[in-house]
């Protein structure tokens, strides 16, 4: 497993920030659960295995056992009857809650489009937990997701990883122990947004200069703190922006870099090298297939769409096989949504890649491809020790599908988060509805 080895570097970085009492802590607690034996299904474990006629035992909110002919006395048994079981689906790229529905101006909280670098903003302070998109995503099997600031800015701010459980507060959704991310964006968006305002950056070279200046400032601030500590002087005033950037330099905050073009990704790897940080994942990496070898060598994940292309110039060379070619080259492939509808069907998006790869003569087993929306996604978010696969001891984030999730006809039957049934297609009491949809005709319920 050469990929696993390449991953070690990233896993080592994925430790939570512990420098001081963390502000804005998670208050998430799992919903009530019981011990459940899922019996007689086709299990995609997320570790690369497919088990026919397999069972999954969920106990105390964790995966207790995965295998065949599991026995457990006095527990609730769910007869799968050939249904499929996968780990909970994880989307590494979402704006749910920050750009909620209805998509009115009053709900537009994704881009702090007032300066090209805004590392001081935290997307969790934009997230409206009543966005109906969370529960429709849940009906699509999404158990965890990263909410990112938008791509208007070179450095857009901190991301947050959430458990996809309904909650009155964003803190109640925050994935405990998940590291923060930093959203960066290269290419057309920042240069268009700020170029149109008549200020830098208005070119790709302006973009790179903007990144470098931000990191130079961060290093300078870091040195000042170091010096003050050394001399016992008072520390400089707290600087929200530089604190976040230093978190990246210290390996505590993971970089998620929106970047379409292959050549720009290579340049961004050079920027990372210059300042001593790591790019955890390129997002919207439409041209990643052109540098799959480089991305494999540098252990950078690429989060890609199945088939979005041509909506802008830097997306013109999109191909359906992108994720498959990355995987074949030994690089980390992830399928993401960036879309409140697409997030409901990441299984189908993955299936489209597998289908296109098959047409090109590349056969990717379903047990492998499912990792693109489970374990690999968890790795990119630094939560793979806790979730992303069906392994004993991990959180029981599990999806039961009525049929092969790579079929267009498959629907989720049940979704578990930390062992709790958070969605059940055949039980209306397990079909959450957000406040917005109350009394105004919003349908919900898996429709």
């Amino acid at each position: 497993m050469k990929i696993t080895k390449r991953w070690l570097g990233v896993i080592a970085l994925a430790v939570p920030m512990l420098s001081q009492a963390e502000p804005y802590p998670s208050t998430y607690t799992p919903l009530p659960s019981e011990t459940v034996l899922l019996k007689g299904g086709i299990i995609l474990t997320g570790t690369g295995e497919q088990i026919e006629n397999g069972d999954v035992l969920i106990k105390d909110g964790k995966i207790a056992k995965v295998g065949k002919n599991l026995k457990a006395r006095g527990v609730k048994v769910v007869e799968l009857d050939g249904a499929w079981v996968t780990p909970g689906i994880i989307d590494v790229h979402s704006h749910l809650g920050a750009g909620g529905v209805p998509g009115v101006r009053a709900h537009s909280d994704v881009n702090e489009m007032t300066a090209p670098t805004t590392p001081d903003v935290w997307i969790e302070h934009s997230v409206w937990p009543q966005d109906q998109g969370f529960v429709t995503a849940l009906a699509g099997g999404i158990t965890a997701l990263q909410i990112l600031p938008g791509s208007a800015n070179l450095i857009g701010g901190r991301s947050v990883t959430l458990k996809n459980v309904p909650s009155r507060t964003v803190a109640g959704m925050k994935f405990p122990e998940a590291p923060y991310g930093l959203k960066m964006a290269c290419g057309e968006n920042p240069k268009r947004v700020y170029g149109n305002k008549g200020r830098a950056p208005s070119t790709r070279m302006g973009n790179v200069a903007g990144f470098r200046e931000a990191w130079i400032d961060a290093l300078d601030y870091k040195a000042k703190i170091g010096k003050a500590k050394e001399k016992g002087d008072p520390l400089p005033k707290q600087d929200l922006a530089k604190e976040t950037l230093i978190g990246v330099l210290d390996g505590e905050i993971l970089v998620h870099n929106h970047c379409y073009r292959a050549d720009e990704m290579a340049t961004m790897l050079d920027v990372a090298q210059e300042f001593g940080y790591k790019v955890t994942a390129f997002h919207h990496a439409v041209e990643a297939y052109k540098i799959a070898d480089l991305l494999a060598d540098q252990s950078v994940c690429s989060a890609v769409w199945a088939d979005w292309w041509g909506f802008k110039m830097e997306a013109y060379d999109g191909i359906k096989e992108n994720a498959a070619l990355l995987h074949e080259a030994g690089a980390c492939a992830i399928v993401h949504s960036d879309d409140a509808h697409g997030i409901q069907r990441l299984n189908q998006e993955t299936a489209k890649v597998v289908g296109a790869a098959k047409r090109a003569g590349i056969n990717i087993p379903k047990a492998t491809a499912i990792q693109w929306i489970t374990l690999n996604a968890a790795k990119a978010l630094g939560i793979d020790a806790m979730t992303g696969s069906l392994e004993p001891g991990k959180m029981a984030d599990v999806v039961v599908w009525d049929k092969d999730p790579f079929s267009v006809y498959a629907l989720t039957q049940q979704v578990y988060i930390d062992g709790a049934v958070v969605f059940d297609r055949s039980d209306v009491s397990k079909q959450p509805m957000m406040d917005f949809g109350v009394g105004n005709g919003v349908i919900g319920g898996g429709q």
């Binding site: 109906q132 041509g310 191909i319 409901q344 489209k352 090109a360 498959a410 105004n440 349908i443």
Partner: protein, 437 residues
């Protein structure tokens, strides 16, 4: 023995494309869905001179025919993209490459997108590779990267084009006039949907006046009562066609109140109406069926993305179809560049209760039939244009692709810019850069 067997690969298709017009072609062993939605197995289809000459289970195949043995695989009429801008835009956010809308003051309804159709667009082979053989191409009010206000409710006139990539691709120049009600019509009309409806009625009144004045042969001037109306004499000629029932009115509407208004207007003016969008159309499914109004449905939306979409749901297609409403599929991610995803959207509708045969019908006959264009397009029927697709599996499944695509009887090449880019980067280890491949 002149019969050649055509292999199910794009290379073979490329090789044979030059002669395929020259002699008849037989597809044998086809499983088909009839236009009534009935499955028939082991069917033979004879294609010659660009049309389907014969179809049935006892059709003789002669030695002079080229042969495609479908071996029991699905064969459908080529799918028809029911919305979007194929051939009208290359890169959405690059205005230089987009011809889907105009701010020209004299051209609202009279803006005919057929004249802008670019048969050489790279989007066309991409759609064709997924079994789409023709497309309704629609004018629109705005597009990605172009957020400017368009102060009109009429976007222009839609057309039907085939996806052969040939210069003579336009099949129907004027297929329907596109109007916006709902939230976009409201903005275009100055802030209220009531104003959008008033504008629509005024336009239809003008069309009626034009027809009553017998003005078709001479230059028509707007009557005094319509002075200051936001349309020109050229537009009125188009409204006249709608008012006469010669051209359908394609109405963007999602809120049930707007759809109900469209039904009223259809009855008041005796025109033909098609709804596009249709988030809440399911609420008036019976009325739509009674009025014979079809819906080009955004089949992927189930979110209250605006206050017009509160009742959006994934089983809309099933509800409408059961009530007898003719439907076709569209969607934000199933149009233009990704028109190919309308198969996925149809599959999703099946997962949510639509009959499979009806889904196939929605993708083929209905998409053309909603506008009254299904006489020759979208059907496997003797006499129809030979747009035929042989699939390597269930046409709605995510890993299914066509093995053969025929447009006007001609076997199409199944490569496209994307398959070529893919092949260029399959092997990253060669000494020379990809630019030499």
């Amino acid at each position: 023995m002149k019969t050649k067997v055509i292999l199910g690969l794009s290379l073979a298709a490329a090789v044979v494309s030059s002669w395929s017009m020259a002699q008849p072609l037989a597809i044998t062993g086809a499983n088909i869905v009839s236009s009534e939605g009935v499955i028939q197995e082991g069917v033979t289809i004879i294609v010659d001179q660009g049309t389907i000459q014969a179809i049935g289970d006892n059709i003789p195949v002669t030695d002079d025919m080229d042969l495609v043995d479908a071996q029991g695989r699905w064969v459908t009429s080529g799918f028809v993209a029911a919305s979007g801008n194929l051939g009208l835009e290359e890169v959405g956010a690059v205005g230089d490459s987009v011809d889907t809308r105009t701010k020209h003051e004299q051209l609202t309804a009279a803006f005919e997108v057929a004249d802008a159709f670019n048969a050489a667009s790279t989007l066309i082979p991409v759609a064709r590779t997924d079994g789409i053989t023709s497309a309704l191409i629609m004018p629109s009010l705005s597009n990605d990267g172009d957020e400017g206000a368009y102060d009109r409710i009429f976007a222009g006139t839609a057309a039907l084009a085939d996806l052969s990539g040939q210069l003579d691709s336009i099949r129907v120049r004027t297929a329907g006039v596109v109007a916006y009600l709902g939230d976009r019509g409201k903005d275009a009309a100055g802030g209220s949907r009531a104003a959008a409806l008033a504008g629509l009625r005024a336009a239809l009144e003008a069309g009626k006046l034009y027809n009553e004045s017998g003005a078709a042969s001479k230059r028509f001037a707007l009557p005094e009562s319509l002075e200051g109306a936001p349309f020109s004499a050229e537009d009125v000629r188009q409204f006249a066609l709608v008012a006469k029932g010669d051209l359908p009115l394609i109405v963007h509407a999602d809120r049930v109140a707007d759809i109900a208004q469209a039904i009223k207007i259809q009855q008041q003016f005796g025109i033909r109406v098609v709804i596009i969008g249709g988030a809440e159309a399911w609420k008036v499914a019976a009325q739509l069926a009674d009025a014979n109004i079809g819906v080009i449905l955004n089949g992927e939306n189930n979110l209250p993305v605006s206050f017009d979409h509160l009742g959006a749901r994934l089983d809309s297609a099933a509800i409408l179809s059961r009530a007898g409403v003719e439907i076709a599929f569209s969607g934000e991610n199933a149009t233009t560049h990704n028109a190919r995803n309308m198969r996925q959207v149809a599959g999703l509708a099946v997962a949510h209760g639509l009959e499979w045969g009806q889904a196939i019908r929605a993708l083929s006959r209905s998409a053309a039939g909603l506008l009254g264009l299904d006489a020759d397009v979208g059907q496997l029927r003797a006499g129809a244009i030979a747009d035929v697709v042989v699939w390597d599996g269930d046409p709605l499944e995510l890993d299914t692709y066509p093995s053969h695509v025929l447009i006007k009887g001609e076997v199409m090449d199944l490569s496209n810019r994307q398959t070529k880019l893919r092949d260029r980067y399959l092997d990253l280890k060669s000494e020379l850069p990809p630019a030499y491949r």
